[in-house]
């Protein structure tokens, strides 16, 4: 059976005040000051990596790339 990765977290965009909700992993974490900046940064990253942005509703956005 062929095993391959279907989804991968490219980056994490977290509010600075939510920094306790996220710990380092395979993906880089980008801290931002407010929600407006969070939207902007994750939009840029989404367009660059062609990845979808998901809101975890605790101040953390993850960018997931599907293969």
């Amino acid at each position: 059976m062929e095993v391959h990765v279907t989804g991968y977290i490219i980056a994490i965009v977290a509010l600075r005040k939510a920094k306790d909700n996220v710990l380092s992993g395979t993906a880089p974490i980008i801290y931002v000051e407010n929600e407006e900046e969070q939207q902007k940064i994750s939009m840029y990253l989404s367009r660059i990596f062609k990845a979808a942005v998901h809101d975890l509703e605790n101040g953390v956005f993850i960018l997931v790339k599907q293969y």
């Binding site: 939009m43 062609k50 990845a51 998901h54 809101d55 599907q66």
Partner: protein, 301 residues
């Protein structure tokens, strides 16, 4: 027993003509626009003529006790299998260029239909030449051939989504970042911009299966992929490769077995969307008939 020259010509020409006509009728252009390009026409029509010729020649060959001619029919079957392979390979190669791929099940279905159409051409040709031989009349042969073409429509009949399920329009509701239809969560859309586009151009429909058989069939990912492909190719997508959040989605409602389809279209017309989904073929190769099983019937009752 031998056949005189004139009758021989009549048998063969009539068989080939009607067999080719059968193949030509099945080459009709439809909304899938496949294979409308002239090269596709040429390939399939030529193969149709060959298969019609094989069918037409088989009757006089058998009458003249040339039994080895039957082996040519086996060769023909091999050839038609090749047609299926060619269709499958070319469609699979194009998958990478589609924003919403057809999916393996749909491709397999198309390839099988192409193979079957050649058998139809051969069968019509055989019947026609047999009728010409028995009646010694071209007119009766043509009538029998025409009748065979007409009846072949029942063999080639395919079911559509409208036959196995109801398609009802629905509404997209956002609960925070969650895209919901009828309380079923389909996706988590993080970007505000994406949510605004979906609210403006997004459409949702519910596919409600008519019974146990259609419930199992419609849950197949192959049929769901075919639905997405057809809808996306007829209404156009807002999605691009860098906006994966606008990709069309399907999800099953685990409370009642409904399938929810969401799409962000260039032309968001819900009536057209419903109509298109109703006319997607319910791919025969992946359909299941659990109602024919005693165990499954028990579970339903």
């Amino acid at each position: 027993m031998s056949i005189n020259h004139e009758l021989y010509i009549n048998i063969v020409v009539c068989g080939i003509a009607l067999g080719t006509l059968a193949r030509f009728i099945y080459l009709r252009v439809d909304y899938r626009q496949y294979p409308t390009y002239p090269q596709g026409y040429m390939t399939h029509l030529t193969l149709g003529i060959i298969s019609a010729a094989l069918g037409a020649f088989s009757v006089p060959a058998l009458i003249e006790k040339q039994y080895t001619a039957v082996t040519f029919l086996a060769l023909a079957a091999q050839q038609f299998k090749e047609v299926r392979e060619i269709e499958r390979a070319s469609l699979e190669k194009m998958e990478a260029t589609e924003l919403v791929p057809r999916g393996a099940a749909y491709i397999e279905n198309i390839a099988k239909i192409f193979e079957a159409r050649n058998y139809i051409a051969m069968a019509v040709a055989t019947l026609t030449s047999l009728a010409v031989y028995l009646s010694k009349s071209v007119i009766i042969g043509t009538i029998v051939g025409g009748l065979a073409i007409y009846l072949s429509r029942y063999v080639m009949k395919i079911a559509y989504i409208r036959d196995i399920a109801e398609v009802l329009p629905s509404k997209i509701v956002f609960k925070g970042p969650l895209l919901c239809v009828e309380d079923v969560v389909l996706a988590d859309i993080g970007l505000k911009e994406g949510r605004e586009i979906i609210e403006k151009f997004g459409m949702a429909v519910i596919i409600r299966p008519k019974g146990l058989d259609s419930l199992i069939s419609i849950n197949n990912l192959g049929i769901r992929q075919a639905i997405l492909h057809e809808a996306a190719n007829q209404l156009g997508l807002k999605m691009n490769i860098d906006t994966p959040e606008l990709a069309p989605l399907t999800m099953n409602n685990n409370e009642n077995g409904d399938i929810i389809v969401v799409m962000v279209a260039m032309k968001p017309d819900i009536d057209a969307f419903v109509e298109i989904i109703k006319n997607v073929p319910a791919i025969e190769t992946v359909r299941k008939y659990p109602s024919k099983s005693r165990g499954a019937r028990k579970a339903v009752n």
